[in-house]
């Protein structure tokens, strides 16, 4: 477990350090690169939490698409020389963020999450998540000690199944959302009459 701890804290350091860099460095390019680093670190967290599929998505979309988009944006607006200067709200923004952070940390630490957690089920969840992308093998699950009903339940709970099953509606809606964003983004980026 110590290895896991080390990796976790290392990733945490990278993520937090990168994030601080994003919001503090004056060079936008560097900020974008640091942002990519943060994305990668977060992807690492996903892997550690057995969410490999999500990690893949994270890398593909965030690092591959979003970070690149940012860099395009930075280049096209030719605003680099003015850099990533702070505005006059640093102190209030810092105070508010700190207070909110305090509330969040306080929440995370004091809430007795276990009262609601299904103790001893972590293992099964892990199995389910491991098999997230594909349809889990029933025999494997049975071997892992799940009862027949639970096997059936897990079998129907792959991530992809969920996306086109229970969450098909938001899934479709997201496509509309992307369409809208594309139309809007294009229309605005293209400009009028040109």
């Amino acid at each position: 477990m110590w290895f896991e701890q080390i990796v976790f804290w290392a990733l945490a350091a990278v993520a937090i350090g990168g994030a601080l860099g994003v919001v503090l460095v004056r060079d936008l390019f560097r900020a974008a690169l640091l942002l990519a680093t943060v994305f990668v670190a977060v992807g690492g967290f996903y892997v550690m939490m057995n969410a490999e599929f999500l990690a893949v998505v994270q890398i593909l979309i965030y690092v591959g698409a979003i970070a690149v988009l940012f860099i395009f944006g930075i280049m096209l607006t030719r605003d680099v020389q003015r850099g990533n200067a702070p505005n006059r709200l640093q102190i209030p923004a810092g105070v508010i963020s700190a207070l909110l952070l305090a509330a969040m940390v306080f929440t995370a630490v004091t809430t007795d999450w276990t009262t609601l957690a299904g103790a001893g089920r972590e293992n099964q969840a892990q199995i389910a998540q491991t098999q997230a992308v594909g349809i889990p093998d029933a025999t494997e699950l049975t071997r892992a000690g799940l009862s027949a009903e639970e096997v059936e339940s897990v079998a129907g709970s792959g991530l992809a199944d969920l996306l086109i099953g229970d969450f098909v509606l938001p899934f479709e809606a997201v496509s509309l959302l992307l369409l809208a964003a594309a139309i809007g983004g294009l229309a605005l980026a293209r400009g009028r009459g040109r």
């Binding site: 701890q5 976790f8 994030a19 994003v22 919001v23 936008l28 900020a31 942002l35 943060v38 994305f39 977060v42 939490m49 057995n50 969410a51 599929f53 999500l54 994270q58 979309i61 965030y62 979003i66 395009f72 944006g73 096209l76 607006t77 605003d79 003015r82 850099g83 200067a85 505005n87 209030p92 923004a93 508010i96 969040m104 940390v105 995370a108 630490v109 089920r121 972590e122 969840a125 389910a128 998540q129 997230a132 639970e150 339940s153 709970s157 991530l159 969920l162 996306l163 229970d166 969450f167 997201v174 992307l178 809208a180 964003a181 594309a182 809007g184 983004g185 294009l186 605005l188 400009g191």
Partner: protein, 109 residues
Amino acid sequence: MSLEAMLVVAAVLFCIGLYGALARRNFIAVLMSIELMFNGVNLTLVAMGRWLAPYTVQEQLSAVLTGQVFAVFVITVAAAEIALGLGIVFALYRTNESVDLTDAATLRH
């Protein structure tokens, strides 16, 4: 690695993003900060799914994955948001010759 630690890291990311979104002048930097916030949220969601198998829905393990599903959606929406955001960046840049938010303050009072 524990739930609390993960949540704290996520919260830190979130709040750093919030600070950046509030305190940066450059539009694109603000968008980047917002992405940090989304990442914080996603970490929270996944961690919740990872550690919590809620007692009311214990029989339905699909609920465990909901966090990840949520995170997938957030990532997608974030991408859409950035796409549109950049569109607006260009529109703003075209009219204002600048993407500095402090300059774009003609609408006030």
